[in-house]
């Protein structure tokens, strides 16, 4: 009797209501359909027909790891395995805790839907891998990638099956494995990161930049709100100074000026280290401002309630204020990380050969010189950047949704 009115939905009705309701809407729809069709046609034609992808195919290794010695390239694979184990196990353990702590309202119900969800999340990555293999189908690489997927699955399951209170240990182990991967690449007769290049260098600068600049940024934000005038002045001064300088200037400064600042006798840091220092200095200042915004959004009554139950100021910050502050600024934080990921391409300016630089150099080398293949190399590089950025963006939305479970 009081059922809600049923609205009829059919594709034709929808089209009529939304695209062809009046003559001018119909005209606009038709015009845009033509435009879209044309762009899609040209784009697809370029990717599948006219594009000369030979340049990417022949230089794929160069694009992925730069001039990393080929005899040592097993180290890259091994490092990839270590990172995969660490990340997957940590993710599994965190997932387990989410399940234990709360009735996870957002988890897809059936195993089939969970699998579909996982596939959707991994889609950009899968697309990248498929692209790489369609460019250069190497049996050994295929076996290794299959092994990576298997290892990721096993580690994830292991993370989930561990007792929930071991989460911290697993996460710590994940970080340790990432450090292990770094050591494996650079130490024990390995290749120092000043000789890395291509996507490997891009990823290293981005990941290390994020891992260092996040805690430093949080500390700066807390320092800027400190009651001690000296701490406040130092943090505010640092943040405002760094934010007033273009990133590229910082990169140049790190390259040319750091040498003067170090005491004589200490070894000169490599160009990559200098670039990393510049990125961390720059990004931490921005993160500090983002986090400060988050800290301000937590009402003072939360601090009062924590103090009233006997918590000291530092645990109050750690357990009550920071979690709420960080949660509210996840989108801005991830935005900053995505910026950092893409800004790593600026190290071209100090002579490092990360992904974009390799892509540029290829077009003027050997057989490919003068063949006008910039479009191919730039599109490939853009595609790789997009996979990274889009994955980060999607994961941040997901994180935000999950953490949003408890908000008012």
């Amino acid at each position: 009797m009081n059922a809600p009115p049923v609205r009829e939905r059919s594709p034709i009705r929808w089209l009529h209501a939304n695209l062809f309701s009046t003559w001018y809407n119909s005209a606009l729809s038709a015009a845009f359909a033509l435009l879209l069709g044309f762009v899609a046609y040209r784009g697809l034609r370029f990717v599948f027909v006219t594009g000369r992808w030979e340049i990417i195919r022949r230089n794929l290794t160069l694009l992925l790891i730069g001039l990393f010695p080929r005899d040592e390239s097993w180290r890259v694979w091994a490092a990839l395995f270590l990172v995969t184990v660490g990340v997957a196990a940590a993710a599994g353990a965190l997932r387990k805790r989410a399940l234990v702590d709360t009735a996870d309202e957002l988890a897809p119900a059936s195993p089939a839907r969970r699998t579909a969800d996982t596939l959707r999340r991994a889609a950009p990555l899968v697309l990248l891998v498929v692209t790489l293999f369609s460019l250069r189908p190497e049996p050994l690489a295929a076996v290794l990638v299959a092994a990576l997927v298997a290892v990721a699955f096993v580690s994830w399951r292991a993370g989930v099956s561990l007792p929930a209170r071991r989460v911290r240990i697993v996460v710590a182990a994940g970080v340790a494995l990432m450090l292990g991967a770094l050591l494996l690449l650079s130490a024990f007769g390995g290749v120092g990161w000043d000789r890395w290049g291509g996507l490997l260098l891009t990823m290293f600068l981005a990941v290390a930049g994020i891992l260092f600049s996040f805690p430093i940024g949080v500390l700066l934000a807390i320092g800027r709100r400190s009651r001690l005038p000296v701490v406040r002045a130092v943090c505010t001064g640092y943040i405002e100074l760094i934010r007033g300088v273009p990133l590229i200037t910082l990169l140049f400064m790190a390259f040319f000026v750091i040498g003067f600042l170090l005491p004589p006798g200490t070894g000169r840091p490599s160009a990559v280290t200098r670039a990393l220092i510049a990125f961390v200095m720059f990004t931490s200042a921005y993160i500090a401002e983002i986090v400060r915004g988050g800290l301000q959004s937590v009402p003072h009554t939360q601090t009062e309630a924590a103090l009233a139950v006997g918590l000291q100021p530092i645990p109050t910050l750690r357990l009550i204020v920071l979690p709420q502050a960080l949660r509210s600024v996840i989108p801005a934080l991830v935005g900053q990380f995505i910026s950092l990921f893409k800004d790593t391409s600026l190290v071209v300016a100090i002579g490092l050969t990360e992904l974009l630089r390799v892509a540029q150099v290829l077009t003027s080398q050997g057989d490919f010189r003068g063949q006008q293949l910039q479009a191919e190399t730039l599109i490939f590089a853009s595609f790789v950047y997009w996979v990274g950025s889009y994955t980060m963006s999607r994961e941040s939305q997901r994180l935000e949704q999950r953490l949003g479970v408890g908000t008012r």
Partner: protein
């Protein structure tokens, strides 16, 4: 009453916010196990008074002594007092990012360093006592106002305080939820807890309190047992307040 039995003592306490004087030479002694209701018009200093007891506000002149410990800038003493004094706020102030259970076990675990399992078992007992055990795993945002306030009471009780402060605990609640909170408070009063309650619930004051303190413009105007306070108020300001609130 000997000094030994005094739980809370105010002696000539002044408190300023800038040039505004929120408390004017307040003298007040609360005995162990007593239940005091503080009332008065808004802005009269009631909240400031009880916030001086756990030093969410620092008084500017005079002495505040809680269970024999005088509150000064000494952080360790403040810490000891805060562990002994529980507080319930008008707006509940539960931690929205933690489940009800985690809200309650937070202080026992991180201040008293109790093992998680024990803290949780005790928290469940407290939730039984405030009659919302089924809400333990939910987040504060999913509870009604009355349930949130009862969870907040359980959170304060988890530290096993000797004193409970209530700052207008029912003022932010819908009328039908006031009773469930007052019932819990009334039951708490029978356990011998020392309570100071800022409230306008005069029925509660009459039924539960040993003494009613009436404040206006930062001063304690009048105080006395509920019968005398309601039947024979001495001061003109008290009469006016009562006539407004009891009509």
């Amino acid at each position: 009453m000997t000094n030994h039995e005094a739980m809370i003592v105010f002696e000539g306490v002044d408190k300023f916010f800038g040039s505004f004087q929120a408390l004017r030479s307040v003298d007040l002694t609360v005995g162990r196990g007593q239940n005091i209701v503080v009332c008065g018009p808004s802005g009269s200093g009631k909240s400031t008074l009880i916030r001086c007891i756990n030093r969410l506000e620092a008084h500017d002149r005079g002495r505040v002594v809680v269970d024999g410990i005088e509150l000064t800038d000494d952080l360790r003493k403040i810490q000891v007092v805060r562990r002994e004094v529980g507080m319930v706020f008008q707006q509940f102030n539960l931690f929205p990012h933690l489940s009800v259970l985690d809200n309650i076990t937070l202080a026992p675990r991180h201040v008293r360093h109790r093992p998680k399992a024990e803290a949780e078992a005790e928290a469940m007992e407290l939730l039984e006592r405030v009659r919302i055990p089924e809400q333990a795993r939910k987040y504060p945002g999913h509870l009604s106002g009355g349930q949130q306030q009862r969870a907040a009471i359980a959170r304060a009780l988890a530290m096993k305080p000797k004193v409970m402060l209530f700052d207008e605990p029912t003022s932010a609640l819908d009328p039908e939820m006031i009773k469930e909170v007052l019932d819990v408070m009334q039951e708490l009063a029978t356990t011998g807890m020392t309570m100071i309650v800022v409230t306008h619930e005069m029925k509660f004051a009459r039924a539960v309190s040993n003494r009613i303190v009436f404040m206006d413009e930062g001063e304690i105007v009048e105080s006395g047992p509920p019968e005398t306070f309601f039947e024979n108020p001495r001061e003109e300001r008290t009469k006016r307040f009562l006539s407004q609130i009891l009509q």
